[in-house]
């Protein structure tokens, strides 16, 4: 039976069991992964997965259950379990109903033929190309290339129903020089297809980053300078801070720094953020979010002014506002077990409008500064915005020239304050997870060495 029919049948079954409202979300996945271990293909995997999640309301009491689907009776048992749990819950003070049917805001195709037709041989050839492109003296200790075809369907008792098929490609490779005190590099690829994966270019970058890191000097001392964050590090920091602050639930629960900031300044004029859920480059792009609300392009921060927060259907009801199509259950790196993941309120594709500066321009404008290549873990305290991050490799810039590479120091600052000191936005937008962002230069961040 197809997923769409199964989703409607599940909702029907659950209403028969006594639920007043019901939602069924079903996912079917075919995933292939090739793992590299020391330049060689170590594992090749093929995975088939399907499952469902059922949410019900029983006179305002909510219950939720999920299950893999093997037999059709799994649908019935999962629905019955959700009803049984709802009976044991307490009345929810905010839930009114699941979203009703709404037409999508256009048509979107994020199903890439090169992934639909991919085999393990396709993946094997691409990872071998990457390894070859890295060249002598640098190796790939660990890498993986994953593709998946993801079919998802949703139906609820309020008439919402959709079925979408999408594709994802994800690669993560590390590189490493040989010998004592080796340098490491890392490159990622996120997309809805394989066509943009330039294996030669990825190999060259992996080589350059490992060699740069090997030659890095341990930084000693302290400086307050402009710092350029590359897309992959900026994306993670942006999601941890801005992603958290945009979540309407956090505002309603008084834990968001941006809870009272709508139509107020949260950054300088170079901060221009949108949600672009229809961007064809991203595997997360979709017509409907993961609870059946149509998605659309939405300005989030315009020239530094916060325009809106994001709400899933539940928290929109809690706040008395309209849901923004921001319920997310999917993951840009992995397609397994999506049915059992909890939902989060997030931009589908958090996009920082690209600027005109090349990385070379940004470097040439700096009297003294740092261009980050790799942070140990680009995390930010979501509530306060504070961060102190270990720099694994960075370019040190003096008088507009790269003078060398540094490591073993901390990048210290506050991300919410840093948004008010953006001095350049790059012209190199890159898809990284839930984000499409360029390199961005922030003034007055601290670099603290070990002595």
């Amino acid at each position: 039976m197809d997923l769409e029919r199964m989703s409607k049948k599940t909702v029907h079954n659950v209403l028969e069991e006594g639920a007043k409202e019901a939602e069924a979300y079903l996912v079917r996945v075919r995933s292939l992964t090739a793992y590299i271990d020391d330049d060689m293909i170590k594992n090749l995997e093929v995975k088939l997965d399907q499952g469902l999640s059922v949410k019900v309301s029983l006179n305002g009491r909510l219950g939720q259950s999920s299950s893999t689907i093997f037999h059709m009776r799994d649908l019935e048992e999962c629905g019955a379990k959700a009803v049984a749990l709802a009976k044991l819950s307490r009345p929810d003070p905010y839930f009114k109903r699941f979203p009703g049917f709404q037409h999508p805001n256009g048509s979107l195709d994020v199903c890439s033929e090169d992934i639909v037709n991919a085999t393990n041989e396709t993946l094997r050839d691409k990872v071998n190309n990457i390894v070859s492109a890295v060249g002598e003296g640098v190796r790939i200790p660990r890498g993986q290339l994953r593709v998946a075809v993801i079919e998802r369907a949703l139906a609820n008792s309020n008439g919402a129903a959709y079925r979408e098929i999408g594709t994802m490609a994800y690669a993560h490779f590390t590189s490493m020089t040989n010998g004592v005190d080796p340098g490491e590099g890392c490159e990622c690829y996120y997309s809805s297809g394989l066509s943009a994966l330039d294996t030669e270019e990825m190999g060259r970058k992996l080589r350059a980053k490992a060699l740069n890191a090997q030659g890095a000097k341990h930084y000693k001392g302290k400086m307050t300078v402009p710092v350029v964050l590359p897309p992959e590090e900026l994306a993670e920091m942006l999601l941890a801070s801005v992603g958290y602050s945009l979540d309407g639930e956090n505002a309603l629960r008084h834990r968001s720094p941006w809870g009272e900031m709508v139509e107020k300044e949260v950054g300088n004029t170079l901060v221009d953020l949108q949600d672009r859920p229809w961007d064809p480059r991203s595997s997360l792009s979709c017509q409907y979010d993961d609870e059946g609300t149509p998605t659309r392009e939405r300005p989030l921060v315009e020239k530094g002014v916060l325009r809106t927060l994001l709400y899933d259907a539940y928290h929109a009801q809690m706040g008395g506002v309209v849901a923004t199509g921001s319920c997310m259950r999917r993951d840009p790196t992995d397609a397994l077990n999506l049915y059992r993941r909890g939902s989060a309120t997030l931009p589908i594709n958090l996009t920082w409008r690209a600027g005109r500066s090349s990385l070379e321009d940004m470097i040439s404008e700096m009297k003294e500064g740092v261009v980050i290549e790799k942070l140990a873990a680009p995390d930010v305290n979501s509530v306060t915005g504070g961060f102190a991050l270990e720099v694994r490799s960075a370019k040190y810039v003096r008088d507009g020239q790269v003078e060398g590479h540094i490591d073993q120091c901390l990048l210290v600052g506050n991300f919410y304050q840093a948004l008010k000191k953006v001095s350049a936005v790059g012209s190199d937008p890159t898809v990284h997870g839930n984000c499409i962002v360029p390199s961005v230069r922030f003034d007055d961040l601290e670099i603290v060495g070990s002595e």
Partner: protein
């Protein structure tokens, strides 16, 4: 199911696998989440499926499926061998360590299947309500989670094993806000336990203390930056053990010569006060398992003894590569993920000092209190940990509370400065990822330890 797994293993052997195994797993997770005194989520999640794994030379082929009908499993067996043959890694044959049979139930007092959901909901509500100690507590969160795993494994080395794992956790987090400043505090109870974990917890006290500590954090000041004397609490001691020394002691990193601890057996890596182990047999700890996901019994591996490096954790593959015995560290997140070398319960062993004695000796330093996160660095041996908060120590006295800060430095440099180790070991549970995914339940910890570490206040 064991019969079907046996047939799948037989098919993989016929197809030419040098070694193969078949795992079937069911995982049932029950959760109750309460936010701001209202039940936000009450759920039960079930997943089940099979993983067929074949090895040819040094390459593995995997095929996983949630359709466990006889024909599908046999098809998956063929795919697994085909995938293994498509790889190009070289490797040694996995030696046959002999057959084994077992059928084990989890050793818990109150199995989750015997506990009513209503009791769980009430516990989460009680815990949440107790946090609201002051109007400045603007948000309260409580979560109770239980997981039951049933594992069945058949291997081509005549292993037929069936075992159960049960884990429970209780999480509480309060957010305090005043005059535009917002801070949070959390606490967790967890382990390979059933509902006795909740029964043994004074929910009122746990919730209330969490709320009170969140309020205190509103007055915390910025931590000093630079190299300071630092007394790490058990959670930060555990991060140092787990993230740096632990990940770098996973033998797959050694085989690849990717770890900074390659060729370090017998060498001094820390002060003589430092002893560190990975022990998958600690009763009730979150990372405890009777067998790893390859069917090897879990064990205790000494990694550092009195400051001298001792050795590595192994899967079947790395033990074969290095000519030694497997240690029961071949683990997988679930049936859909690969098996590789993973930790269980990783910790520093106890010393002989009380915390008060350790503080009394410090002229100027910092005492950490709780972790937020940590990051592995098996190549460089760098340590990075984020502490939720800490306390300034001045002239042997704790003076001020410090807000969140980062600890960093070279792990061997840090371990070499260890000059005091506390008497009491505490383990914190969580999930450990390797690289970027593959999350397995573990614990890490140790006693309070005194080191010199670089701090950066954020």
């Amino acid at each position: 199911m064991m019969d079907q797994l046996e047939r799948a293993v037989e098919r993989m052997r016929m197809e030419g696998a040098d070694f193969c195994d078949a795992r079937y797993q069911t995982i049932t997770t029950t959760g109750v989440a309460v936010v701001d005194a209202a039940v936000k989520r009450i759920s039960e999640d079930r997943m089940r499926g099979a993983c067929l794994r074949a090895r040819k030379r040094g390459s593995w082929g995997y095929a996983t499926t949630v359709d466990v009908s006889k024909d599908t499993l046999l098809e998956a067996a063929v795919k697994a061998v085909r995938n293994a043959k498509a790889g190009n890694s070289s490797g040694k044959l996995i030696p046959d360590l002999g057959g084994a049979r077992a059928d084990l139930k989890a050793n818990v007092q109150m199995h989750p299947s015997k506990v009513g959901m209503d009791e769980r909901v009430q516990a989460a509500l009680d815990l949440d309500r107790a946090q609201k100690v002051d109007p400045r507590i603007v948000n309260t969160n409580s979560m109770l989670r239980e997981e039951v795993r049933h594992n069945q494994l058949v291997s081509s080395h005549d292993r037929q094993l069936s075992w159960e794992e049960v884990r429970s956790s209780l999480m509480v987090e309060a957010v305090a806000s005043e005059a535009g400043r917002t801070e949070f505090f959390y606490d967790i109870r967890d382990g390979s336990k059933g509902f006795e974990l909740v029964k043994a917890t004074d929910l009122e006290t746990l919730g209330r203390n969490t709320g009170l500590e969140a309020l205190k954090m509103l007055t915390a000041v910025k931590a000093p930056s630079g190299l300071v004397t630092c007394i790490t609490d058990p959670s930060i001691s555990g991060l140092l053990a787990h993230e740096v020394m632990g990940h770098a002691s996973e033998a797959d990193e050694i085989v690849k010569r990717r770890s900074f601890l390659t060729d370090m057996v017998g060498k001094k890596v820390g002060s003589p006060l430092i002893t560190m182990v990975d022990d998958g047999t600690v009763p009730g700890a979150r990372g405890t398992v009777p067998f790893d996901d390859e069917g090897t019994p879990s064990s205790r591996t000494t990694i550092i003894q009195d400051g001298v490096y001792q050795g590595y954790m192994h899967s079947l593959e790395t033990a074969a590569e290095m000519g030694t015995k497997p240690t029961g560290n071949g683990r997988a997140q679930d049936f859909g993920r690969r098996v590789w070398v993973r930790m269980t319960n990783t910790f520093f062993e106890k010393g002989d000092q009380t915390l008060e004695e350790m503080i009394a000796d410090v002229k100027l330093g910092v005492l950490t209190d709780r972790m937020i996160s940590g990051m592995e660095d098996p190549v460089g041996g760098g340590f990075e940990a984020k502490a939720l908060r800490g306390f300034l120590i001045e002239n042997g006295q704790v003076t001020k509370m410090l807000r969140s800060f980062t600890l960093t430095g070279n792990a061997l440099d840090i371990l070499g400065t260890g000059d005091a180790v506390g008497k009491k070991v505490t383990l914190d549970g969580g999930y450990c990822g390797k690289g970027i995914e593959d999350w397995v339940p573990v614990s890490s910890g140790g006693p309070h330890c005194r080191f010199k570490i670089v701090l950066g206040g954020d």
